[in-house]
């Protein structure tokens, strides 16, 4: 081999041909226009939440704020009238939190241990259970709405926090079990066998081997369950009352408030308050959100 004296410039980029330049410009222009279209509704309500309602009514709902105010947020949070009770969205926001957090945690935990039992232990009827759970994911909720209403009444849980949480836990467990099963089925069986030889039983293997390996799917499942239950409306409106009402149901009432004068300013703030928790989760866990989509659905 001969020694190399000079290293040629290796970082030189090949210049684009004119047709490629036009192509790239068209590509970015299209993407930016579409992105702006997708962002538009969010941008509009963010701007409206800091505009005066008079300005919105005078200038149109779509517009740049000429004067800024934070008053809308305060009104939406603590004073706006929904169904004749002027408490703002605050109680509904907390009601949603009280429902969503336990339901998410419980359904995720059950889903994970179910997934472990289904994939790593010889179960009688494992195939049948899998099919049943899949049906549970796809079942239109309308078909079980009436039985749920009657059953919750029998249990004395109708229109209560516990009742609605129960509905979400049972329905969500199908979903979380399916998600976790699809993840855990790829865990090497050898690990479980090694643990058996090491003398670990079901629960010890679960705690010491499976749970430490599951943060990716736990995060994905929590993100999806949180978003789904927070955003859910049909059960929320059916199984709630003025004592306990999740924020999606309350928002619909606010929206349907036909008093003649539309209060777009604090309406926008209220809508944003309802959208913020899932959006925060989405932007914090975006990577996992996407992973959940692509892994959970394509199995």
């Amino acid at each position: 081999m001969t020694a190399i004296d000079t290293i040629p410039n290796l970082d030189r980029k090949k210049p684009l041909r004119p047709s490629q330049v036009v192509g790239r410009i068209a590509l970015y222009a299209t993407l930016i226009v579409l992105a702006l279209f997708v962002l538009m509704p969010l941008a509009v309500i963010i701007l409206n939440s800091v505009r005066f309602n008079d300005d919105i009514l005078r200038e149109s709902f779509i517009g740049w704020p000429t004067r800024l105010t934070l008053e809308n947020w305060g009104v939406a949070w603590g004073e706006a009238c929904i169904n004749a009770s002027c408490t703002g969205v605050k109680p509904y926001f907390w009601a949603s939190i009280l429902m969503v957090v336990p339901a998410t945690v419980i359904s995720t935990a059950i889903g994970l241990i179910n997934g472990f039992a289904l994939t790593k232990w010889k179960m009688p009827f494992a195939g049948f259970i899998f099919v049943a759970i899949t049906i549970g994911v796809f079942l239109p909720p309308q078909v079980v709405l009436l039985p749920w209403a009657i059953a919750l009444g029998w249990l004395g849980l109708s229109k209560s926090l516990v009742g609605l949480s129960l509905v979400h836990i049972i329905q969500g467990t199908c979903f979380t079990t399916l998600f976790c099963r699809n993840y855990l089925i790829n865990l090497p069986d050898d690990l479980i066998k090694a643990a058996r030889i090491d003398g670990a039983g079901f629960f010890r293997t679960f705690w010491k081997i499976v749970v430490p390996l599951s943060p990716p799917i736990i995060i994905v499942t929590i993100i999806w369950q949180f978003t789904f239950i927070w955003n859910e409306f049909l059960f929320a409106i059916t199984f709630s009352s003025s004592d306990f009402r999740p924020i999606t149901a309350a928002l619909m009432s606010l929206n349907a408030n036909d008093t003649g004068v539309s209060e777009y300013g604090f309406g926008s703030a209220a809508v944003l308050i309802a959208a913020i928790p899932p959006l925060v989760i989405y932007f914090l866990g975006g990577r996992y959100f996407v992973r959940g989509l692509t892994q959970g659905a394509v199995k």
């Binding site: 090497p188 090694a194 090491d198």
Partner: protein, 367 residues
């Protein structure tokens, strides 16, 4: 340490019989290798010995104890997996102690055991790392450590070297052999690599289609294979099989291959009297590739037409045909014929084998 007795073991999955009447008596301290093509049942047998699978029929005795119905943790065995199956979220130390934790071994005892094993396997600097930070060879050592620390009566290995690169595999092979010499444990070792089987084992079990074909020491397996499957499976390149008709009479026997256009005579004279009952019948002659030598050495002289020459470094592998029959020979590296040349070779028939129509080797009269 203990002997392992496998008696009449069958395994059935659905309608498929994976193991058929397996009987093995593995002696205390013996290094036994299970070898066979993939899907032959060797891994199933290992799982059954480990207790990860139930038997459909038959019993297993380890030492004096019937372990057939015991769970893996009660069998006093250790298993090294092909994938190593190290717990990815635990450190090397935790991997090694997990089993002792489950058995509630006192902490001081655990520490001492880890220290001993780490020293033996030279993995002391790795103890606080996670498996993901280790090289393939290091992981293999940790997996061995996890098994050694149990101080089991029986070690099981499931293709433990197959994930290593070629050079490391040879090193680890030597090391395992040394370790066995030093510790004298009873070992059952599964592999599909016949070189591993030949080099490591005291005795080899050749399995095919769930049936034990032969259980014997490596030399016997190689030189006196029980049947054509064993003969063809062990050795690379494979043994050459030639259809021959036994002719002549007792003490003057010749095996004749009826080839295309010409016959090949293999004269045995009085050396193979076991063939006498087969006179007039067609059987199979087996000759190993290394039984071919350059012309001039002792043996039967054959003129062959060279098809392919493949130098491997120390040897030259030659594919040639004679009387329309394609054969493989392994000769020394200096022997380099041109392709399509006619060359003369010498074939030593001293170690030739014969198989009857069922494929079973015809035993010599002295055996």
């Amino acid at each position: 340490m203990a002997a392992l007795n496998i008696e009449n073991v069958w395994k059935k999955y659905g309608n498929v019989i994976a193991l058929r009447d397996v009987n093995l008596d593995i002696r205390d301290g013996e290094f036994v290798v299970l070898v066979g093509p993939s899907g032959c049942g060797k891994s199933t047998l290992l799982s059954i010995i480990a207790g990860l699978e139930d038997t459909s029929h038959g019993t297993l005795t380890l030492g004096e104890i019937d372990v057939t119905d015991l769970s893996p943790k009660d069998r006093n065995i250790a298993l090294v997996f092909q994938s190593y199956a190290l717990y990815p979220t635990m450190t090397v130390r935790q991997n090694i102690t997990f089993g002792m934790e489950n058995r509630k071994v006192p902490k001081a005892e655990q520490d001492k055991a880890v220290a001993d094993v780490a020293k033996l396997l030279q993995i002391e600097p790795l103890l606080d790392r996670k498996p993901g930070q280790l090289s393939g060879g290091q992981r293999q050592r940790v997996a061995m450590g996890r098994a050694l620390v149990r101080d089991p009566q029986l070690f099981l290995f499931d293709e433990p070297l197959s994930n290593l690169d070629a050079k490391l595999r040879v090193e680890m092979r030597t090391e395992m052999k040394k370790l066995h010499k030093r510790l004298g444990q009873t070992i059952v070792y599964v592999t599909h690599d016949q070189v591993e089987a030949m080099t490591l084992s005291d005795r080899i079990v050749v399995i095919n289609d769930g049936v034990v074909q032969q259980f014997a020491d490596p030399d016997t397996i190689y030189q006196k294979p029980a049947n054509m499957f064993v003969a063809g499976f062990m050795g690379s390149p494979s043994m050459n099989f030639i259809d021959v008709e036994v002719t002549g009479r007792a003490r003057a026997i010749t095996a004749v291959h009826r080839g295309d256009g010409a016959d090949i005579d293999f004269p045995f004279g009085a050396t193979r009297e076991e063939l006498a009952p087969y006179i007039g019948k067609t059987i199979t002659l087996g000759v190993r590739p290394e039984h071919f030598r350059p012309a001039g050495e002792a043996g039967l002289t054959l003129t062959v037409n060279v098809d392919v020459v493949e130098p491997t470094g120390p040897d030259t592998m030659v594919v040639f045909s004679v009387a329309g029959k394609s054969l493989v020979g392994v000769l020394n590296a200096k022997f380099r014929p041109e392709e399509d040349d006619d060359v003369t070779l010498s074939l030593s028939l001293d170690e030739a084998c014969f198989f009857d129509t069922e494929g079973v080797r015809i035993r010599g009269l002295a055996e």
